[in-house]
Symmetry: C2
Subunit: 524 residues, 2 copies
């Protein structure tokens, strides 16, 4: 369903005081439930909305949320103000069955509203949210392995048409299954974000007032106590579109690329923004939280702030969506308990064993430089090099994220922001993902001090990547008690060739002698 | 001249008690001088030979040498026993003019023999020996810059026909200007070295006797007090052949690849062997001394031994030929005073600035793994990767050495020993050398913390290598006070394209956007 439909249904619900179930994955079948009962599939999104106070400042004055109860279990969920006197609360049930709910508020008309929610089994394609698994890896809630093979579209959330559509089409075409995207706006050159996350303040800026002057040419300023629902609705639609396309949305909450001062709003505004973002977005099962991009470049904040943000997100999010933070030069201590996985800007995969041991969590090398042709050295990797880095990550038992910075002729986005994907590494990355998914394994563990880098599951699966080595023959040290089938892989040509027969124990094999090749062994 | 010719002339000289001048670079014109006067070109080789004691053990019993005098300067040079009662002394004069000499010995017939040596100007192509220059680089004695772009033919000295000829032809064809070669033999699979460096001892080995048992199947043993001139003559001819082809001979004095026990002969035999090697070979101006290959794998020797060997070579060599030592895992302290340059087995060029600062000498990364297709991971680099490593070395202000390990169908040498060169990096390496030679500069200094790796001579020359970056445009930070001409370089295609016009100061340039490209700026 698109935004107009949601709003229309919302309006209908308001008129009868009834709640609606908005599941982005079952657009066609969604309909308002009879009376005060809604139906939502497991891990889908239920949404209830009510009319409440519109005067004063609802963002500050009105508290609103709901308690969702299933048998003896109660989940408290914060709601949010969506403008025009409309209050919403969203909930993503993880258990099928009958849930009841009751709203809580300091406003009378928003208190004690109740309803029933029939949670039905997830439909095909809905595998639930992604969580960590087996210490260093990821899987969906239904147990399906998940290999993050994502890209970066920093401005997808707020860049607007036509890039909403072209970005989504490109992501689907190439096959990325995760997108890193900023929640706060980023300068877009000649272009403007579709809206601003805070409402513009009237008059000139007053000393001590919680407003921010626009750092840009307009000299406008913002009332940081009033969020702009229009802005968040737009970002939200992108998250829903990604969900419908089975793509995880790695939502970046803060970043240093700021023309308006949103990176230096002060604690009160920061924390209110964070709670609002979590209340709006956490019910979408494809959401991951990235506390910041290049956090250490935000000079107005300290480590205490970043840690506080982690705690606020952790406290506010009823679903414990994945949480991390991304650095520029100073690696965050990902051993901290609120971090679910590491998100790095590095490509020194040889340090992965030490990092995995130190942090005891999955590692995503979320910025390994960019395929492209811009004048910055971090933005002009060849497609071959980008592909190579993904393979190096996988045989190191970690993950990587793509990004693209191709100069455009038409003035379109260049800096891994949004729009068409022009590179040629993407399809190779998807080839690798599908190869891994086909194995049925959850994550690969890197071999310790291997002769050639390889990763797998002991006794079941081994994936070798030969890097610059032109291997003409090699005696693979396969276990003696099992037999394996072997597949030759050309990562660039994206071909797999099954080798007839099986191998067991030390197995000398003649190989192509070409560099950048790979071999997969799977238990026969 | 080949070995047969040398011997014939030697025999003639013996009959008349006259000395001969053997310059490998002027084969055709060399002839015995009239009476006791010989003519030799500067940096050529003069050789005098005499009949002396043949009984007992001449290697131990007889001391022999000569004093060469030019005006007030005297150079003492050790001679050597060449078997069959023949004693020789060689001398390479560095100054044109009339030298006189007089032999010294503990044997009456070898004492006080005198002669005159007319040293004439070096002919075209004879630029003298290579020495270090400008702290981190090399040049010939005549001031011509020398860029070491060598390869490795460990067994070239003793492998024999047909590989004597095929190796030399391959080196000339590809264009390498230095060869790393072992002086002591190395096992050759089914093949046998042309001879052994020590004579075989009669009977079975006796306790306490200075003999060595053959570690191989033959169980023969060696009299370590008797060197085998036949063996050394063969190696020597290879050094002469290289000299005639303008190729430096980096002679490796010890190594761990030993089937006969020569790596564990004991101090007395070690030192006698060293002095003999220096007496025979040091007069050839293309000789460099590598005390050992992978010294730290020779478990029978300690650091005290290696340092002693350096001192012996330094004391014995009247010409101070270049001296270094090559490691496997434990980097030698190349700051030691007898080391003229570092010889490394590494390819971590990013450590070069720290190493150059610590050692204050030229660095040759003498083993950066091998282009080839063998099953060892150090022996199956692609030609692209080998080429890439040479470029990385040069823009790091250091040097590299090639090696090749291609499996052969005909049972020929595989392990960078000798024979045909089958790879395709060699011609690219020569392309790079010629590019550098064409600039007329002596060595390139790496830029400090560059945006893209580059090296050159400040204000005169800058060579950029873009590695995996697909640079579509870049603003080169050229000095403002000079103008430069620019050349695009494709290191793999071996093409250079002069860009019309000149550039000065910060210069934004559109580039190919292809990876592994290079750009050269030269002062206009």
């Amino acid at each position: 369903m698109d935004r107009r439909e949601v709003m229309k249904l919302g309006a209908g619900a308001l008129m009868t005081g009834m709640a609606t179930a908005a599941s982005a994955t079952e657009r066609a079948e969604r309909r308002p439930a009879a009376g005060d009962t809604a139906t939502v599939e497991q891990w889908g999104v239920f949404e209830a909305e009510y009319k409440g106070p519109a005067s004063g400042n609802p963002f500050v004055d009105v508290s609103f949320g709901a308690r969702f109860t299933f048998e003896h279990r109660t989940v408290e969920v914060a709601g949010f103000y969506d403008g025009d006197g409309v209050y919403k609360v969203r909930f993503s049930p993880d258990t099928a069955g009958r849930w009841t709910y009751e709203t809580t508020s300091n406003a009378k008309e928003l208190t004690g509203r109740t309803g029933t929610l029939e949670c039905v089994a997830a439909k095909a394609g809905n595998r639930g949210p992604v969580g960590t698994a087996h210490q260093f890896h990821f899987e969906y809630a239904d147990g399906t392995p998940y290999f993050p093979f994502g890209t970066t579209c920093y401005s997808y959330g707020f860049i607007g048409a036509p890039y909403d559509a072209t970005t989504l089409a490109a992501l689907k075409r190439v096959g990325f299954n995760k997108v890193r995207m900023c929640l706060l706006p980023k300068p877009l050159g000649q272009r403007k974000p579709v809206a601003m996350p805070f409402v513009r303040a009237a008059g000139t800026r007053q000393e001590g007032a919680e407003t921010l002057e626009d750092g840009g040419a307009s000299k406008e300023h913002f009332d940081l106590a009033r969020l702009n629902p229009e802005y968040f609705r737009h970002v939200e639609q992108r998250v829903q579109d990604l969900l419908a396309a089975d793509i995880q949305a790695d939502v970046i909450l803060f970043h240093p690329y700021d023309a308006w001062g949103f990176k230096a709003m002060g604690e009160e505004a920061d924390d209110r923004y964070l709670r609002y973002a979590v209340a709006r977005l956490s019910a979408y099962r494809n959401v991951w939280w990235s506390i910041a991009n290049e956090y250490d470049l935000v000079k107005s904040k300290t480590m205490k702030d970043w840690d506080r943000f982690f705690r606020i997100v952790q406290e506010s999010d009823p679903y414990s969506r994945l949480r991390s933070i991304h650095h520029s030069r100073v690696v965050y201590d990902h051993a901290k308990p609120w971090c679910t996985h590491a998100s790095l800007q590095e490509y020194d995969f040889e340090k992965s064993p030490a990092r995995l041991a130190a942090w005891n969590k999955p590692i995503v090398y979320d910025e390994i430089q960019y395929e492209g042709n811009i004048a910055r050295r971090w933005g002009n990797l060849s497609a071959e090099e980008m592909t190579h880095r993904f393979w190096r990550a996988i045989v190191a038992g970690v993950y990587a994220t793509h990004g693209e910075t191709y100069m455009t002729q038409d003035g379109g986005p260049v800096w891994s922001d949004a729009g068409e994907l022009r590179g040629t590494s993407g399809e190779r990355i998807t080839f690798l993902r599908k190869l891994l998914e086909r194995t049925g394994t959850t994550g690969l563990m890197a071999a310790e001090n291997p002769y050639y880098a390889n990763a797998g599951n002991a006794g079941r699966l081994y994936l070798y990547y030969f890097d610059y080595h032109c291997v003409g023959e090699y005696e693979f040290p396969l276990p003696e008690k099992e037999t394996f089938k072997m597949t030759w892989i050309d990562p660039w040509a994206m071909t797999t060739t099954a080798v007839p027969g099986t191998l067991s124990g030390k197995s000398k094999v003649t190989l192509t002698g070409k560099p950048y090749m790979a071999v997969l062994f799977e238990k026969a």
